[in-house]
């Protein structure tokens, strides 16, 4: 039983929770850009939160389901239609064999997640089904989907679990297209000038055209150091805001390298990474500072709420 790719869309990849445990060998984590929407898609069809799903970017694919399945879309509203009938994100639907899922015009957001009950049966590489295009491994031959690909799924006649999810989860980062993104000071925060610190928090940055899964390049007031700084490469997490010599910040995203040597002015709080992942090149970004303790409290609260939702059916 499988799903056949009729048209691949702009960039459609298989992603699971990410390739943890190999960063010391230089292997990136990959995984979903919007972790919350990815987890919600899995919740809606009764999957473990870490199950493999498809990440769809801006222009969605056309897929033919050759098996009965329980399917859900979460995250961006990219104009999905099931057999020509609009299918809003945030709900699970029973899909009959032979059905066609297609996408029309984008309504909101940048990335949608398609989950099916049981996940996509993709052989894990280094413990993960996530696609690492740079290293050509994981997912389908380490690349984006192409027309003619067939993804094996489990045939499934089960109903969707009965869930009451917070409305904000169902629209994810899409709910706040202008929302302020909260950041924690980085290791080199105090090495930046007072003007730079102020500019990061008070001015608006624009997402550059060359922004993709590896990093978001921001354009705006340059962020300058008090004095030149030569740093030694070290581990960098998802959401690190690093600043090369030209002063234009780069936010490291899902396909980031494992180590980096640029000064880190700040880090996007984990709970707000989905907001950023749903923004498009050309859209504005504003930042506000929160403490590490607050960022961790918010992240733990959300993780526990997701686990509670999963516990209602798991």
């Amino acid at each position: 039983m499988s799903i056949e790719v009729i048209k691949p869309g702009l960039l459609t990849t298989v992603q699971d929770a990410g390739r943890a445990g190999y960063q010391h060998l230089g292997v990136p984590v990959n995984g979903p850009m919007d972790t919350l929407a990815f987890q919600v898609a899995n919740l809606l069809v009764g999957n473990p939160l870490t199950c493999s799903a498809l990440e769809v970017t801006l222009q969605g694919p056309t897929l033919r389901c050759q098996a009965h399945c329980l399917m859900a879309i979460a995250g961006a509203d990219l104009g999905a239609q099931l057999n020509g009938v609009p299918l809003a994100p945030g709900q699970a639907v029973k899909v009959a064999a032979g059905s066609l899922l297609s996408f029309g015009r984008r309504v909101t957001g940048a990335r949608a997640y398609i989950a099916v009950q049981g996940g996509f049966m993709v052989a894990p590489v280094l413990g993960s089904a996530s696609t690492y295009r740079g290293g050509q491994l994981g997912g389908v031959d380490g690349r984006a989907l192409r027309a003619g690909d067939r993804l094996a799924i489990h045939s499934c006649f089960r109903n969707a679990p009965r869930l009451t999810l917070p409305p904000a989860w169902l629209s994810g980062g899409v709910a706040e297209p202008d929302g302020v993104i909260r950041v924690i000071p980085g290791r080199e925060w105090s090495c930046f000038t007072a003007q730079a610190q102020q500019a990061l928090l008070d001015s608006t940055y624009c997402i550059g055209n060359d922004s993709e899964r590896m990093g978001y390049r921001l354009r705006g007031q340059p962020l300058l150091l008090n004095a030149p700084l030569q740093l030694l490469s070290e581990a960098v997490p998802f959401g690190t805001i690093q600043v090369p010599a030209d002063g234009q910040p780069i936010v490291l995203m899902a396909d980031r390298q494992t180590t980096g040597g640029y000064p880190k002015i700040a880090h996007v709080a984990s709970v707000d990474l989905p907001l950023l992942a749903q923004r498009l090149p050309g859209e504005p970004v504003r930042f506000a500072l929160i403490s590490l303790a607050d960022a961790q409290r918010l992240a733990v609260d959300r993780a526990r709420a997701l686990q509670r939702a999963q516990a209602t059916y798991a």
Partner: protein, 248 residues
């Protein structure tokens, strides 16, 4: 890796809300690098024994160890303790106590390198820049045991050093868009080995037929932080023979 004294001094920083960085020095030295590599191996051992719950990756840097974690999975002592504070405390406990067993030992590996002709497009020019003949540069690059300082940039890509003080050219002004797999790069008293064809900004002084990274192999990576390697000069015929053996 010569086992250093147990690391006793480090600074601990949050790098965002899901990564903790232990810093053993602020300038690069082989001694500081070894302390970091040793601490990483001790922590990895504790992690594999189930004593650092919630940790997802332990990543040695040049003079640091990065510990990535799932915030909700860190065991808290209660009160107002944050996941960061709890993990810092747990890491401190692990590094202060004597290890149950020796951590994964470091390897010593010879790296065969052909420094001839097309395998070494930048050799002559970079030797000249270092005030050496090509033969003198190769002589200083080979025969010494060197440390794998870090793996980064790409899967399996080692940073190797510290080389002879004379081998300290800056990187190329303009990076190449395509560097052949196995190329040996030289800059700033360090060498890298490009595991796959990729863009790169280091001077190319040779090429190895070894496979640095293969996701299907166990372990996937030839080298790890803290290992010791020695470059050994080979001719083009030997290169081709070893390359034929390496590829299935």
């Amino acid at each position: 890796m010569i086992e250093p004294d147990l690391p006793t001094q480090w600074a601990c920083f949050a790098s965002g809300d899901s990564c903790l960085v232990l810093e053993f020095a602020t300038v690069l030295s082989v001694a500081a690098n070894r302390r970091a590599a040793w601490a990483a191996r001790l922590l990895e051992q504790a992690w594999q024994a189930g004593r650092l719950r919630g940790v997802t990756d332990i990543v040695p840097g040049m003079v640091t160890v990065g510990v990535h974690y799932q915030q909700q999975a860190i065991a808290l002592a209660g009160g107002d303790e944050t996941p960061f504070q709890a993990l810092e405390r747990q890491i401190e406990e692990q590094l202060r106590k004597p290890p149950d067993d020796a951590p994964v030992p470091a390897q010593r590996i010879d790296i065969p390198v052909c420094y001839d002709g097309d395998f070494a497009p930048d050799l002559q020019q970079v030797a000249h820049a270092c005030g050496l003949s090509s033969a003198e540069l190769v002589a200083r690059h080979t025969g010494h045991w060197l440390s794998v300082l870090m793996i980064g940039f790409a899967p399996g890509n080692p940073y190797i050093g510290l080389l002879d003080e004379r081998l300290s050219p800056p990187r190329r002004d303009t990076p190449r868009t395509q560097v052949p797999r196995g190329s040996i790069g030289l800059a700033n008293r360090q060498s890298v080995i490009y595991p796959v064809a990729s863009p790169g900004g280091w001077h190319l002084i040779g090429r190895t037929p070894l496979t640095l990274f293969d996701a299907e192999r166990q372990p996937p990576c030839l080298l790890r932080s803290g290992d010791e390697v020695r470059f050994v000069a080979i001719d083009a015929v030997t290169f081709e023979r070893l390359a034929a053996q390496a590829s299935p």
